[in-house]
Amino acid sequence: MSKRHSTGGRLLNREKALHFTFNGQKFSGYEGDTLASSLLANDQMLVGRSFKYHRPRGVVAAGAEEPNGLVNMGEGGRFEPNQRVTTTELFDGLTARSQNHWPSLEFDIGVVNSRLARFLPAGFYYKMFIHPRPFWKYIYEPFIRQSAGLGQAPKEPDADTYEHFYHFCDLLIIGGGIAGLQAAKTAAKSGARVMLIEQTGHWGGRAVVDGGMVDGDPVDNYVEQTVAELAALDNVTLRTRMMGAGVYDHGYVLGYEQLRDHLPGSMGPRHRLWRIRAGHIVTATGAIERPLSFAGNDVPGVTLAAAVRDYLVNYGVSIGQRTVVVTNNDDAYRTAFALHDAGLSVPAILDARTGLGKTDMRERAEARGITVMAGHAVASVKGGKRVTGIAVCKQEGAGAVVQEIACDAVAMSGGWSPVVHLWSHCGGKLQWDADHAFFRPDADKAPTGDAGQPFVTVAGAANGALKLADILEDADAGARAAAAQIGHKIRKSKSPVAQREEEAPLEPVWLMPAEAEVKLRSKAWLDYQNDVKVSDVQLAAQEGFESVEHAKRYTTLGMATDQGKLSNINGLAILSDALGRPIPQTGTTTFRPPYTPISMGAIGGEARGEVFQPLRRTPMHDWHAAHGADWEPVGHWRRPYAFVRDGERLKDSVNREVLNTRRNLGLLDASTLGKIIVKGPDAPKFLDMMYTNMMSTLKPGKCRYGLMCSENGFLIDDGVVARLDEQTYLCHTTTGGAERIHQHMEEWLQTEWWDWQVYVANVTEQYAQVAVVGPNARRALEKLGGMDVSKEALGFMEWADGTLGGFKVRAYRISFSGELSYEIAVDASHGLALWEKLMEAGAAFGVMPYGTEALHILRAEKGFIMIGDETDGTVIPQDLGLDWAISKKKEDFLGKRAQARRHMTDPKRWKLVGLETLSGAVIPDGAYAIGEGTNANGQRNVIGRVTSTYYSPTLDRGIAMGLVLYGPDRMGEVISFPGTEGATFKARIVDPVFYDKEGEKQNV
């Protein structure tokens, strides 16, 4: 059984008890506990069920590598699945529930899978559930899905907030163990801006658990002093609870800081995502102990040897009272000593090393009266939901049991693997270190930065230096090298010297016992969470999944939430052995960010809800909002779709706005339309290239409707161009096109015609613009008083500067509705005042504001095209009957050559026509006109499609525009548009101008 001791626990504040629940049961722990340590303190060995077989599982590790201890945590808007118990700091009121079982953790029906394990080997689902076909979707898959997944899905919106930080430093050191601390200490002397981050809440890493002497003092003192020294330096930033989550190209690092996970509900953001730009990065991320692969190595109570020490030293918790240590290296002896020194029983150390002679560690063990069984191994573990004993065998051989030992815990160590993730994220390569049986960073193949320079250095255990003295040396050297990389010199100084402990070499043990029979191999776990056993990886090799990526994907090894931190190397070794090739030749899978899972909330940051994206408002925005605007997003703008009055349906509002504009007076906020100034001696020449029309001949004071095509020939934008003076034009663009067209112009000016003297400025937001539309438009403006807006003074397609109602304005006599129409531009800051004044002046003339939908209908009634409706990126001006706007005189303009290509001049291109339904009904949006028969692929032949379709309140019938094969030559013909709901719409091909064909109304 696991329990808390009355003494010990260097991280605990025993003065402060904390209360929490696990599966509804009340427990208590202390400040400083993790959820794992406090569960173990309460003898809660069983913490969850595995993914596939629903095997009972206990905590196996003490840190971020833990694969088993995952819980549903919190309630409501703070509920979160898959929280790792080993890294969750205990707080008062914590609620946790175990995952992946039904009906309860203790009695889980799903455990039947475990009984069926032989029928469910790696990749079983590829071989089964094939027949009958519908069963996969309706029976097999729902069953598999139901049994998959771990934690519950959150249901409520997140109650917490998140934020992003930027940080710039010369050296970023990741990992606050002694390697990171020493590296920071050395590097700080150079004067470089150093940032040191540590993923846990504590400095010192493993060293403070394992002990040792530095410069004659206990290592605790060294850590304390170093942290104090660093904290006092101006050029050093220290952060705990902050993980280096990922290393990206050119020295970009993602830091993940957990600010309030241990203080839920307190003020401030829960997580902070740091985007760090570092001149150079030192990863001092330590190493992770590997499990040993023996039968039953997943029974709760079988724990990593170093984790056993962690729980004892940090939290005063022992996992077992009688613990067998099984190892292939010296380090695990420290666990035996720690347990023994705490008064706990260690019946034996099974040291699998066959050639183990008299070693220092062995002597120290035997001096304590601990039996060391050299060349011995665990044959199998006894017990179901907790360990009750082990069967011992020789490591060499097939597992013949030589002895059984009663125990309630097994501490295992298969050696250590440097944490090379961050080194590898951005392309750092690894080399196999056969002496230590691990992959370590290959310093000659570091990830390279923007100038091709190496930008990551590895220090300490992460670099393969596992002993205290080596770690400090390596960290000091690493920091010097890193500082030198970025041009900082560090004067020679004495670096701390740690006491050396002699260690005998490790012997790689990938399977225990070496010749284990299949019965044992199929109980020896590699990946705990995903239930991948030695036999699974061997099966993958047998079936030809020889690449490490194949084997991983076939077995799911290393694909669980721990991403193979415990299993990858063990699995790789088994695969290599099965294929009869050396480990380095098999290679590793790719390390991908993040190091451990990070919250989506943190990645999203502040930008959510109303501030998800920037919102652009015209000066009249608030007025619209106060007057019933039903909004339509257009780019980042919002434009009123219609102004809805009390008791009105949306479409009634639209119809009212259309009719009122035709009969009386309508006001449209046109401020969002793009306005681009093009100025300079070569402006006329430039616009002749940008537009299909001839703009150089436009006279100052006049306006011209222009079309813009891409170099590929397609129509991309349209708008009215006004010539302000000889060298200055103002180009109107569509609302969505302002930025795009501005950039388009800049691109051509800067990269093709850079010797042309033209300056381009986007002044869209400098002006508010109001369209004053309808038969009463002139009267309303005259009521405002000021400039002459008569037909004679300001003719159609002319503009003039002047004043109206005391405002300095520019008035354009242009029309997108076919009505008498003025667009009045004013400084943006006067926009609202002008609008209100126009509303006031127009009151006598029946003024009403109108929205984008009325705008669309008004233009459709007149047969005006709309970019985005009549065009979709595949339409050229010729398709739309706009040949009149394409200059024949110009030698060149953007799109001209493209429009000469075979397909562009094909007479079979669909052309714009008007469409009038025989019944007066409205053709559905997007409908296609059908032709005869089918094409070679059996699809119905089509001869056209609708591009705009509306109910016209003016004509009281459905009107549409569309692109139709030979359309303009087929006036009067009737074609059919099938709807999607059975009805077919018959429509006559007509002229696209439905209203005021002669254009008299706009000319009055």
């Binding site: 029928f119 997140d158 690449s547 990526e549 939430t561 990070i598 989506m600 990645i603 997007g926 296609y928």
Partner: protein
């Protein structure tokens, strides 16, 4: 080849699965084949498979510089749909989708095709009209889709927020028989079937030269020796530009990184695929329980299989906006794939300037869904020199200005 079935698994269980044979042979290259396919990804393997099944062409080698299925086949978000706008695309993707329906049975390999349904959200009026247009086109193309209301969207996807403050859901284009499949299994199933027909899947074999004589292909040089062939298919996705260079022609292609990510696994909460193009993100839940999420591409040429993190931020923000619960999940893993993007964002299945060399590339961000259809069509192109499904996808379209532009219907990567 030993057939896979529940009975076979039970039989093998009795002897601890010691009797399973290799899923595909590991052959040495022969001196000559009728057809060599470069690239043992899904498309290359499917091409070989259909050459054998449809036309009896079985002296085929599929040569692969890495390991089969190791490129984009194994790093996409597994979405299958055919709700394309333009006729040629709809024909090809619908053929493909139909082949997915029976693929597990055809290959005797469970590829877990899950026709759970795909919704493309309409979040602007413009998108509403675009998807209504697609629904009309699909009806005439024999592709079963419908435009559905926000209420229906919410019924299908209870975790969605249809009333977001910025981009409320206005409707959706729903393809009930769209869905997902297990990507690796598609490559493995095809490799096993090809191997079973006597074709050679040759991994760790990089093509270093394409030998030509009188404007015709005669063979390839590889890191495992020279191989002669009558016909050559190039099916190498992101590496197309490089391999085309070996054959002496250029392509209208740029290779960029596309990123994806998965969350930690959770219990089933969403059993359809949702794509939100206005906010740029899409998400489905895998059979393992992970939320599989895809987003945008980088704006520069890249062969590193890594991308820039700000795209991940944008994608995750979009998904939190659409599915607020995502905020409380954790990102487990992110990765990138190199996608080959053409001038009109549609694929190329085409003859080339070199006689008897055929190329299949340019699938951009949407290649997985096309795997079986692409193989079906490409096999016909290689065998006959043309075919109704490939005729519109020729290289000549760029010269003629005859583009297949799907941007109206699909504004985002997938």
């Amino acid at each position: 080849m030993k057939r896979y079935s529940v009975f076979a698994v039970a039989r093998e269980a009795a002897r601890y699965h010691s009797g399973w044979e290799r899923a595909w042979r590991n052959p040495e290259p022969k001196a000559k084949y009728d057809v060599v396919i470069i690239g043992a990804g899904g498309h290359g393997l499917a091409t070989a498979y259909h050459l054998g099944k449809r036309f009896g062409v079985k002296r085929v080698a599929i040569v692969e510089k890495g390991w089969l299925g190791g490129g984009n086949t194994g790093r996409n978000t597994t979405i299958i749909r055919s709700n394309y706008l333009q006729d040629p695309s709809a024909a090809l993707y619908e053929k493909s989708r139909a082949l997915y329906e029976t693929m597990s049975q055809d290959l005797n390999y469970n590829v877990m095709f899950s026709p759970r349904g795909v919704i493309m959200l309409a979040q602007t009026h413009h998108e509403v009209r675009g998807y209504q247009r697609t629904a009309h086109a699909n009806a005439l193309q024999g592709v079963s889709t419908e435009f559905i209301t926000p209420t229906r969207v919410k019924e299908l996807v209870p975790i969605i927020n249809i009333k977001g403050p910025r981009y409320p859901v206005l409707g959706g284009l729903w393809q009930a028989r769209g869905g997902t499949a297990r990507h690796d299994a598609v490559a493995w199933g095809y490799a096993r079937a090809c191997s079973d027909m006597g074709m050679d899947v040759i991994q760790q074999c990089e093509v270093t030269a394409i030998r030509r004589k009188d404007g015709k292909v005669v063979g390839v040089d590889t890191t495992r020796g020279a191989i002669d062939c009558e016909k050559l298919g190039i099916v190498v996705a992101g590496n197309s530009g490089h391999v085309a260079g070996l054959a002496g022609f250029r392509l209208p292609i740029e290779s960029v990184a596309l990123q994806a990510l998965v969350s930690e696994p959770i219990k089933p909460c969403m059993d359809v695929v949702v794509m939100a193009n206005t906010v740029h993100g899409y998400m489905s839940q895998s059979d393992k329980g992970e939320m599989v999420i895809g987003g945008g591409t980088d704006g520069y040429n890249n062969y590193t299989q890594r991308g820039s993190f700000h795209h991940i931020e944008e994608t995750v923000r979009a998904l939190i906006e659409t599915f607020p619960m995502v905020s409380r999940l954790k990102m487990l893993r992110q990765w990138g794939g190199i996608v080959d993007v053409t001038g009109d964002r549609s694929p190329i299945l085409s003859k080339t300037p070199v006689e008897n060399v055929f190329i299949n590339c340019g699938w951009g961000t949407g290649g997985f869904k096309a795997t079986p259809g692409s193989g079906w069509a490409m096999a016909e192109l290689i065998h006959k020199g043309h075919g109704p499904l490939t005729d519109d996808f020729g290289l000549n379209r760029f010269r003629e200005g005859r583009f297949i532009d799907e941007s109206v219907a699909a504004g985002v990567a997938h």
